[in-house]
């Protein structure tokens, strides 16, 4: 029965997940702030009631057995869900943020669930257990804490970024030096997290390589091969074999870091200029190294001087040399600033909208304002997914182009001009 109706199955599973998350959260909050814990549970209860009644109503409605049962269900839902919310908020006993967080839990787990399904992980795969256990709990907890924190009015005012789990950990344990150190160096921590995630996924895909690949191996191989095709179209088949390891690693590493920022409670390490500058400098040094290696010292200097071949070329040397040197030096700057600016800008955009959501929470129409604002934020998160992919692609493609300019090709722009002369 459940096999035939996957939607039904998902609803009950997400309800169970959200109950577990709510109970864990409430238990962890109870010693310090019992009222907030109770508010989370109340919000979860109301949301669960909402779903139960909704399912009932839809069932009655679609089976055309309307009449008394239907109006009874609608009446009970209105009374319990909306009336309960109204009474809870008007009584002044609970704070808005934990209540709304509890209310949002089932919606959140359903959203995560449907995202996982949309990404093609069917019911029988490894990721299902991961979602249900670790990712669902973790994502739910992260989002709840993310909603709790702006209520402290510290994060919303000064910082231009969402609190991540390190900041939250630091807030709860302000005197622990290890956590304070981690919070100070969170960019490094998240870069390492992304790196290990990248390594783990690659290991997972390739631990038992088969001639006829399974789902996951197939997907990873497709990604790597299409990236190699794109870069190979620029570099040529003989060079791509040599340079693809670093270009592909740059692409997938940046992609992992960027996409990590979408998970609530995590952060894109590329929203700091430090990391992007490091990546751009690595690219720059690699490109210069291969320039010297391919062209030789003389050829490299000749390339920097704009390849003077005649009298006019030599006369232009004092102008062309600084221009080319500056052009080379501008490459890492533009690479790093582009990546940083895009990711940071997108993060800021989401912060602004989440901040607006937090403001709406304080208004008395809290329950009505949350869903549209959450929808707008989710839309921007889709935009963020697109930006993440495109920026990772642009970074690695530009690295390829810079590398291509340093190869002993006959297709150099200024060489063509001089040879045509």
């Amino acid at each position: 029965m459940d096999q035939a109706r996957p939607g039904h199955d998902i609803l009950s599973r997400t309800l169970w997940t959200s109950w577990i998350v709510a109970l864990v959260l409430a238990a962890s909050l109870a010693p310090a702030r019992p009222r907030d814990a109770a508010a989370i549970l109340a919000g979860q209860l109301i949301a669960a009631l909402h779903f139960i009644f909704l399912r009932k109503i839809v069932k009655l409605f679609t089976e055309r057995r309307g009449g008394a049962g239907l109006s009874l269900a609608i009446g009970a839902k209105t009374l319990l869900v909306y009336g309960g919310l109204f009474v809870l908020i008007r009584s002044g006993q609970v704070r808005y943020a934990p209540l709304c967080a509890g209310f949002a839990l089932p919606f959140l787990s359903m959203f995560l669930k449907s995202m996982m399904l949309a990404l093609g992980t069917g019911p029988a795969s490894l990721t299902r257990r991961l979602t249900k256990g670790a990712l669902g709990t973790f994502g739910g907890a992260g989002a709840v804490l993310l909603l709790l924190l702006p209520a402290k009015a510290r994060a919303a005012e000064s910082a231009t970024e969402l609190p991540n789990w390190l900041v939250i950990l630091h807030d709860f344990n302000p005197n622990n030096p290890a956590i304070a150190w981690l919070e100070n160096n969170q960019i490094i921590v998240f870069a390492w997290v992304a790196g290990f995630l990248f390594l783990f996924l690659s290991w997972l895909a390739m631990r038992k390589p088969k001639m006829v690949p399974g789902h996951f191996q197939n997907a990873v191989e497709w990604m790597v091969e299409s990236m190699e095709d794109v870069c190979g179209g620029l570099l040529g088949p003989e060079h791509i074999k040599k340079h693809f390891p670093i270009i592909g690693a740059l692409f997938f590493y940046i992609l992992t870091i960027n996409l990590l920022g979408i998970i609530p409670g995590m952060k894109s390490a590329t929203s700091s200029l430090d990391l992007t500058l490091a990546l751009a400098l690595i690219t720059f040094l690699y490109v210069q190294f291969w320039g010297v290696r391919n062209l030789g010292i003389v050829g490299y200097l000749d390339h920097l001087a704009g390849s003077p071949r005649d009298a006019i070329g030599w006369m232009m040397l004092p102008v062309m040399l600084p221009v080319h040197v500056l052009g080379e030096l501008a490459k890492p700057v533009s690479l790093s600033c582009r990546l940083f600016g895009n990711i940071f800008g997108e993060d800021t955009l989401i912060v602004v909208f989440v901040g607006a959501t937090a403001l709406c929470l304080k208004a008395s129409l809290a329950a009505l304002a949350v869903p549209p604002m959450a929808g707008i934020t989710a839309l921007f998160m889709m935009l963020q997914t697109l930006t993440s992919i495109v920026q990772a692609l642009i970074f690695s493609l530009l690295a390829t182009v810079y590398l291509y300019m340093m190869l002993p090709h006959e297709a150099h722009a200024h060489e063509e001009v001089t040879s045509a002369h």
Partner: protein, 77 residues
């Protein structure tokens, strides 16, 4: 005019101007790519790569303005 006031007026204006330039550039790129795509659909993969690289260069100008804004933002009183 006070320095913070000038900064507060100039930074958003600067970003807007930079965005106009980038927008025109990206628009031209997109137009050219679309026309080429319509004429020769078979060059689509190569065209897309070149188009995205061009977008990256055109977009970088606005990003520079954006970064400048973030560096100077704190000095608006």
């Amino acid at each position: 005019m006070l320095f913070p006031a000038a900064l507060g007026l100039g930074l958003p204006l600067g970003i807007g101007l930079a965005a106009i330039g980038s927008g025109i550039g990206i628009g031209f790129l997109g137009k050219g790519a679309m026309e080429a795509m319509g004429r020769q659909p078979e060059i689509l993969p190569k065209l897309q790569v070149a188009m995205i690289i061009g977008f990256g260069f055109a977009e970088a100008l606005t990003i520079y303005a954006f970064v400048t804004m973030f560096f100077l933002q704190g000095r608006i009183g």
